[in-house]
Amino acid sequence: MITINEDTQDTYVKGTDAMNGLLENGLGLMILGMGFVFLFLVVLIYATGFMSTFIHRFFPDLPDKLESPAIKQSNSRQVASSHSTMDSKVVVAITAAIHQHRNK
């Protein structure tokens, strides 16, 4: 962890120096922060791109068919998740029920 400059610690002194120190620190945080966020996410873009290329080249795979993930995702936030297990059970039960019903 970065140790805080002495002047930021006594903000209660409220001298002009302290104020300038605080402002300077704030600007530093903004520049370093935004810089770092961009740097990190740019690195992540390249890493992700590299990862995808690598996977597609060396471990090609049938992609999930009919994927429209965003819509699925926005629903899954609302609805409880144990969806797929649920549905498979339901389908089993329905199949059974329909067979019974047919054979009546």
Partner: protein
């Protein structure tokens, strides 16, 4: 007998209630009202509101510390919110567990189909840092008493991400936690009101009508590897963001790997629900009159609104820039989704897009910057924790 009656009367809230407590109970009820009637992030604002009501009941002792005798035996137990706050929020456990659950609910597919949208998630974090400057200026102006740590914690409201805001505030400015959490969740709920005017002001109708290309399908393997890649990058570049992003990616890995469905299911349901209830009550416990009823809270609420607005604007402007530079068309509206506020901001982008062109569905494309914004604000949080110390 009469003296007992008198002491019983002295125990009542009527006798003990201070004006500040009365106001805070009203504010708690307002939050409950907004949660139920207006649908403002009810999963959090309802428990926070009730927590605020309970902690301000005079003599109920919800935040009372336990008392021990010299041998270490408890003579008086503490209050419920005391244990919740010190056990789960001060330690950072609850926000991290919630972040794990959110990770287990998040689908990175749309982002992986178009990784460049990560830039939008980066740009929208400008709201965070601009707000830090705002808070610092208020601090230096002498109007309000904000240290650099306070300013950083206030800025994180602009991240539009509840658990991140609570985690950072609990470390940098615990006394502001209540106001920061309330501001963060309230503005997240207000995204449909705050964002559209800014989005319309910064874009032309043609831009808003831009159709984007269908996203490529994303393979299961990419989705599995991605959270590991993020964790490793965080480990390399920004360990102070590792608690947040490590747990987020752990949750996402449980979701995508396909072999621990029962854990993923629990992380998304029972566990996150339990922790949400307690997190809300714990955050509410910081809504005491001393901590909330002061000029700083006004500053926090205003700065939070500014943070959301600047974040939205910078996301949209970055998307405009990318649209100009890129060979593939990019609708600037999806930039606004970069503030996070998942999935509300993506829906807003979709809705504003539909106004311009009723056949233009942007939801899928906006989910990419939207989840990128979660990563972006967690990275910003890490920088702040590292820069300001704790």
């Amino acid at each position: 007998m009469e003296d007992k009656l008198l002491t019983l009367y002295h125990d009542t809230g009527i006798y003990q209630l201070e004006f500040g407590q009365f106001v805070m109970i009203c504010i708690g009820l307002l939050l409950v009202y907004l949660a139920i009637k207006k649908g403002f992030e009810p999963l959090l604002l309802l428990p926070i509101g009730i927590g605020a009501v309970l902690v301000n009941i005079p003599g109920a002792g919800f935040m009372a510390a336990p008392v021990y005798d010299a041998q270490g035996h408890m003579t008086t137990p503490g209050g419920l919110q005391y244990y919740i706050y010190h056990g789960g929020i001060e330690t950072g456990l609850f926000p991290l567990i919630i972040f794990m659950g959110v990770g287990a609910m998040t689908d990175f597919g749309p982002m992986l189909a178009n990784p460049k949208t990560l830039l939008l998630g980066a740009a929208a974090q400008f709201g965070i840092f601009a707000t830090v400057i705002g808070a610092v200026l208020l601090g230096t102006s002498g109007l309000m008493d904000f240290s650099l740590a306070d300013a950083a914690a206030i800025g994180i409201i602009g991240g539009a991400d509840g658990p991140t805001a609570i985690f950072v505030a609990s470390r940098l400015a615990p006394e502001l936690l209540g106001a920061i959490a309330v501001a963060a969740y309230s503005y997240m709920a207000l995204v449909p009101l705050i964002q559209p005017p800014i989005m319309r002001a910064l874009t032309s109708k043609e831009e808003r009508s831009i159709k984007m290309e269908q996203l490529r399908p994303v393979s299961k393997k990419e989705k599995i590897i991605f959270p590991i890649v993020v964790t490793l990058l965080v480990a390399m570049f920004l360990p102070s963001a590792a608690p947040l992003l490590g747990m987020f990616c752990f949750g996402n890995l449980m979701r995508e790997c396909g072999v621990v469905e029962r854990l993923s299911d629990t992380a998304q349901n029972a566990l996150i629900n339990i922790v949400t209830i307690f997190l809300g009550l714990g955050v509410g416990s910081k809504l005491s009159s001393e901590a909330f009823l002061n000029i700083e809270t006004l500053g926090i609420l205003s700065l939070g609104l500014i943070a959301f607005s600047i974040g939205t604007a910078s996301g949209v402007l970055m998307a405009k820039l990318m649209n100009k530079m890129s060979s593939h068309p990019i609708n600037p509206l999806i930039g606004a989704a970069g503030v996070s506020a998942v999935p509300m901001a993506a829906r807003v982008a979709n809705k504003v897009g539909l106004e311009a062109n009723k056949h233009n569905f942007l939801l899928m494309h906006a989910m990419g910057p939207n989840v990128a914004g979660v990563i972006g604000s967690a990275v910003a949080a890490g920088v702040m924790l590292s820069y300001v110390g704790s």
